[in-house]
């Protein structure tokens, strides 16, 4: 992305009581409007971030977290959570990741307001994924940044580095580019879109999962070493029993057809437009049954 942030004056306050001779940089805590805070922080943290100094529409802080929790309607979650267009999801992940909300209090709030239903049970099950990845991280530490198991199947795509079109959200595939654009502009991406992008980068393009994980981590407000790296490994089958793949039918079904309707490749050349059987052969050189470990 273009690095076009404005040059702002550094507002440095030096404190005399530091233990060494290095100047301490105290950040101001009295800047009032969000726009002024953005301009201020852009200068104060100069050198510590990449890209433009534009905030996410998702606000930080406990008050915003509680508003988001109140606004989330869990009814229908089980049916709509996978749909990137319907958005039946909570968008609570940035707050959960930074401890602004705890898994326990979100669970308690949802169960007490919506009762025990298939929707709320599915939601609590999703919360448990985060708890699970955290336990794995507590056990393994930085080892989660390496393959935890041998890949069950490896893509036949030649290994390559992250292509510049991915960083620019200009692969020409509308489903991928729209998902990346959302990531770059808001710091959020829907779970199903994360799975598509992670599978596309690893299995179609031959990009190492660490590079993809690093890209996500740099942009996600909820970027978390455990949830991110372990999900990439889950897609790649180094922490699951099979690689995750998807096809055009899956994209159309879970995006209301909106991406494909606008995609120039919909009429021909879509790399996802195939049966799972053929994709297993094309990408991994095995039958679908073999890919899924059924044979």
């Amino acid at each position: 992305m273009a690095a076009t942030w404005p040059v702002l004056p550094q507002l440095v306050v030096y404190s005399k009581e530091t233990l060494n001779d290095e100047p301490t940089m105290q950040l101001r805590t009295d800047v009032t409007t969000r726009a002024e805070q953005v301009a201020y922080l852009a200068g104060a943290l100069d050198g510590l971030y990449a890209g433009p100094a534009i905030p996410s529409p998702i606000r930080g802080g406990r008050r915003a977290a509680l508003r988001r929790l109140r606004a989330f309607d869990a009814r229908g979650y089980a049916r709509t959570r996978n749909d990137v267009a319907k958005r039946g999801v909570s968008v609570l992940s940035p707050y959960l990741r930074h401890g602004v909300l705890t898994l326990a209090e979100v669970r308690d709030s949802i169960l007490s307001r919506f009762g025990h239903t298939p929707d709320t049970e599915k939601f609590v099950n999703e919360l448990a994924w985060r708890a699970f990845w955290q336990l794995v991280y507590a056990q393994l530490g930085d080892r989660i940044q390496h393959d935890l198991e041998p890949a069950k199947h490896r893509s036949r795509a030649p290994r390559r580095q992250l292509p510049p079109e991915v960083a620019a959200a200009s692969t020409g595939l509308v489903c991928i580019d729209e998902s990346l654009r959302e990531l770059y502009t808001t710091g959020y991406m829907h779970n199903h879109a994360r799975m598509w992008v992670a599978a596309y980068l690893q299995h179609w393009l031959g990009v190492d999962w660490r590079e993809g994980a690093e890209l996500f981590y740099r942009h996600l407000l909820d970027g978390d070493p455990a949830s991110n790296s372990l999900s990439w490994q889950w897609v790649g089958s180094t922490f699951s029993h099979k690689p995750y793949i998807f096809n055009r039918h899956n994209v159309e079904r879970f995006s209301d057809g909106a991406f494909c309707a606008r995609c120039p490749l919909a009429a021909g050349g879509c790399p996802f437009d195939d049966s799972y059987e053929n994709l297993a052969q094309r990408l991994f050189g095995v039958s679908l049954a073999e890919l899924e470990g059924r044979r």
Binding site: M25, L48, G61, L66, R107, D108, F132, G223
Partner: protein
């Protein structure tokens, strides 16, 4: 003057942080980890989100948000506040454990607070989520309260 400060980090950046709640009058500090961030080059969105969280977390008490080397800044802040104890909420991140060890090596007393558990778990986790879920589902689906008090409907952004 106080004998304890609270150190806030990115895994527990809330006014309801357990270390903060246990020390209602203690000064609190959050540090943007300069060496880590200089290398990671995260997007501004993430750092601004943290800043908004930190501002709310320290509101109403003596608070400091800094950029620098975390352990040095926490030590400096403790010295400024004439505190010998640092209260902090535990995190599973390896970097967190390292910083705690460095603070202790520097002679500070580090008091660890546990974040509220979602489910109780002892020992190693299984290799697959399905095995984990089978063992925790009943507990995970049992509420421990009614959750936080939510803002009124009219209170919008």
């Amino acid at each position: 003057m106080s004998s304890a400060i609270v150190w806030l980090h990115g895994d527990s950046l809330s006014p309801t942080d357990p270390a903060l709640l246990a020390n209602p009058a203690a000064p609190a500090i959050f540090v943007f980890d300069e060496p880590f961030l200089a290398a990671a080059q995260l997007s501004f969105k993430r750092l601004f989100f943290l800043y908004e969280c930190a501002l709310e977390a320290i509101a109403g008490r003596t608070g400091s948000i800094r950029r620098g080397v975390v352990v040095e800044e926490v030590r400096a802040f403790a010295a400024e506040q004439q505190a010998t104890a640092v209260h902090v909420t535990a995190s599973v991140a390896p970097r967190f454990r390292q910083y705690v060890a460095e603070l202790r090596a520097a002679g500070l007393q580090v008091v660890m607070h546990e974040p509220p558990a979602f489910v109780t778990w002892r020992g190693e986790p299984p290799r697959r989520f399905s095995a984990f879920w089978r063992r925790v589902a009943a507990e995970a689906l049992r509420p421990t309260g009614t959750g936080p008090v939510l803002p009124a409907e009219h209170e919008v952004e």
